[in-house]
């Protein structure tokens, strides 16, 4: 087996607020191979974005990584100096965000913003920088790229702005891109276009991707493996097909049951009852217990990770195991 490009072990990021410690990310582990796409799904507030920012070393105060390891191409990132981390950000690992309107600077041209991103890591002549920028814009599907370098963000549609952001993130051919719900704010048709373009780009360039979304349907069409996050923890992870067909964790099962494609025609969509608990006052034990049909006394202590082949889950009473043969 080849060395993973990104290896995350027991990563914990906590926010030390006035109200107490918010364990936004709590013991997250996963590996990512070259060119692999992993979907990171979970409800709002489950810690997906904080996980992404932890990977690129941009956790805002009062938060910080309190534990764990992030290895990128064999280099430990969590102990790097800010200066050394900066030379990797945007270069070996980059991130794109949900709202393309907010990410680009409205007062600089696309070309200027791409030039800044190039200059951050490389000395290129203005001509070479322009050529590289235009090449990237073309790759992400922006027509007449060279002329568009002189345009300002407000002259682009939302979908086109997101493509520009993606092009900026790809400028230095990073090993890993963290994509934080980059299509959520866009029209469904454009969403699909960008989704598949990103998948192809990942394939061509060997860039691995972490695709963050609260929408299991979107992610599963793209990612070869999934990590399901709940209250700061990954409660289940494994190959996409396996998880969709045969979930172990009751939360994953609930998410799948609420997918429109999974509902029997004519029946209402299933919803997981209750809502995400406040991370400030998490009960000891399994954080999903208050919403879980299978909860009992054992669940009052936190369930450890159960591994089975290339999948794993955190639950004392996994579903589906009696019924089927594990994949």
């Amino acid at each position: 087996m080849t060395e993973p490009v990104l290896s995350v072990k027991n990563l914990s990021t906590h926010f030390f607020t006035r109200g107490g410690v918010v364990k936004a990310v709590d013991g997250v582990s996963f590996d990512l191979a070259r060119g692999e796409i992993m979907g990171l799904v979970g409800e709002s507030g489950s810690g997906k974005t904080v996980t992404g920012f932890s990977l690129i070393g941009l956790v805002d105060a009062p938060g910080r990584i309190v534990e764990g390891s992030v290895k990128l191409n064999g280099t430990e990132l969590t102990t790097l100096s800010e200066k050394a981390m900066r030379t990797r950000r945007g270069n070996e690992i980059s991130m794109i965000f949900q709202d393309p309107i907010a990410t680009l600077n409205p007062m600089l041209t696309i070309g200027q913003q791409m030039k800044l991103a190039i200059d951050a890591h490389e000395r290129l002549s203005p001509q070479a920088a322009e050529a590289r920028s235009a090449e990237l814009l073309t790759q992400v599907g922006i027509p007449s790229a060279k002329a568009r370098l002189r345009a300002y963000p407000h002259e682009f549609s939302g979908g086109m702005r997101q493509r520009v952001a993606i092009a900026i993130a790809l400028l230095h051919r990073p090993a890993v891109i963290v994509a934080d719900e980059p299509t959520t704010a866009l029209d469904v048709s454009i969403q699909a276009q960008i989704l598949f373009q990103m998948r192809d780009l990942a394939r061509e360039t060997g860039t691995a991707m972490i695709w963050i979304s609260h929408d299991l349907a979107v992610v599963s069409s793209l990612a070869s493996k999934l990590a399901v996050m709940y209250a700061g923890r990954i409660v289940e992870q494994g190959p996409t097909a396996t998880l969709l067909r045969d979930p172990r964790h009751p939360y994953t099962a609930g998410l799948i049951a609420s997918l429109p494609a999974m509902a029997k025609p004519g029946t209402p969509l299933t919803q997981i009852p209750g809502s995400t608990p406040s991370l400030l006052s998490l009960p000891p034990g399994c954080p999903f217990a208050p919403r879980c049909d299978h909860a009992d006394d054992v669940c009052k202590t936190a369930p450890a990770l159960t591994m089975q082949g290339n999948r794993g889950w955190r639950c004392y009473h996994p579903v589906g195991q009696d019924a089927g043969v594990p994949a």
């Binding site: 900066r86 990797r88 950000r89 270069n91 990410t103 600077n105 951050a120 407000h154 900026i168």
Partner: protein, 324 residues
């Protein structure tokens, strides 16, 4: 872009026209200057003659049109009191005010924006807290009091700087300026500092608020995620993004300080237009008051016009007439 300039220019013309009516009527309604320019013991004939000579016997609208007609030819009338052309009178005083105000507003802006960005960038450091304390002080201490304290401390107690006047001046384009000479500069320091304190406080607040807001946006996060250094982010992203309100306030402050530097000019015996207008009001020297207000209105309109152009220059959304 050209359409934008023309539109703004027409707006400025309309504003000036309206201002001239308001100023003229407003000043007309105040007191009767005849009682001041003519000695009480003068005969009825002399009185009537004076009234006719000054054009005060004509109907108000006629006086206005004569006034505007003269105005357009660059003639703002003669001072009742000094009996010299008003333009000459004000023109002789304006450079003093101009250099004082420009120096104080520009240095308050440069210093205030730098301090404000620092305070917004590192809100929890003790340096930032000190900066904010200074800004609270600048807001709450009355200007005349600060002026007096400055004189007491730097001029009287330490004897480092002169307490008033313009000092040595140099003629440039036939106008006397203090700033090119060392002695002149030393005379400017205290009144400029006095004028600048409030503006400094305001610029600090403005830059700090803008910085705090912008630093939390996705634009900055995305720039960081692309690996830009903090210095580049501050210089290339932040400075542009916080500039609009700062330039707006800069323009307003420049205009209003030019018009109303009265208190500081009085305390530091600075021979600017502020002192002139106060004197003119007490003796109801109507042409000076009217001309002064017209010039002030003109300055405001011009500054606003320039500021609009600057906006269009730095913000593509204004330039392209986008609503976003």
């Amino acid at each position: 872009m050209l359409g934008f300039i023309i539109q703004r220019f027409l707006q400025a013309v309309v504003v000036m026209a309206v201002m001239s009516v308001i100023v003229f009527c407003g000043v007309y309604a105040i007191g009767n200057p005849i009682d001041i320019v003519i000695p009480p013991e003068a005969t009825e004939d002399i009185r009537a003659e004076a009234i006719r000579r000054l054009g005060l016997d004509r109907p108000l609208y006629e006086q206005y049109f004569i006034f505007v007609g003269n105005l357009l030819q660059g003639d703002l009338g003669r001072s009742f009191v000094y009996n010299i052309p008003v333009l000459e009178l004000i023109g002789g005083r304006l450079p003093a005010t101009l250099e004082l105000v420009l120096i104080s507003v520009v240095s308050a802006t440069v210093l205030g924006v730098s301090l404000g960005i620092y305070a917004g960038y590192r809100p929890d450091s003790w340096v930032s807290k000190t900066i904010m304390a200074v800004s609270v002080l600048g807001f709450s201490v009355p200007s005349f009091w600060v002026g007096l304290i400055l004189i007491l401390f730097f001029a009287v107690h330490l004897g480092w700087l002169p307490a008033g006047g313009r000092g040595d001046t140099v003629e440039i384009w036939g106008v006397a300026w203090s700033f090119p000479t060392l002695d002149g500069l030393s005379h400017i320091v205290l009144p400029a500092a006095n004028l600048a304190l409030f503006k400094l406080a305001m610029m600090i607040r403005l830059a700090r608020a803008g910085t705090r807001e912008i630093m939390l946006t996705d634009t900055i996060k995305f720039a960081r995620a692309a690996g830009l250094s903090e210095a580049t982010i501050l210089r290339r992203h932040l400075l542009k993004l916080i500039s609009i309100p700062i330039i707006t306030v800069f323009g307003l402050e420049l205009g209003s300080t030019l018009a109303f530097a009265v208190v500081t000019e009085t305390i530091f015996s600075w021979p600017g237009v502020g002192k002139l207008i106060i004197d003119s009001i007490t003796v109801l020297d109507r042409p000076v008051m009217v001309a002064y207000l017209i010039i002030v209105a003109f300055l405001f309109v011009t500054i606003n016009f320039v500021i609009d152009l600057v906006f269009a220059l730095i913000d593509p959304r204004v330039r392209h007439g986008a609503s976003a």
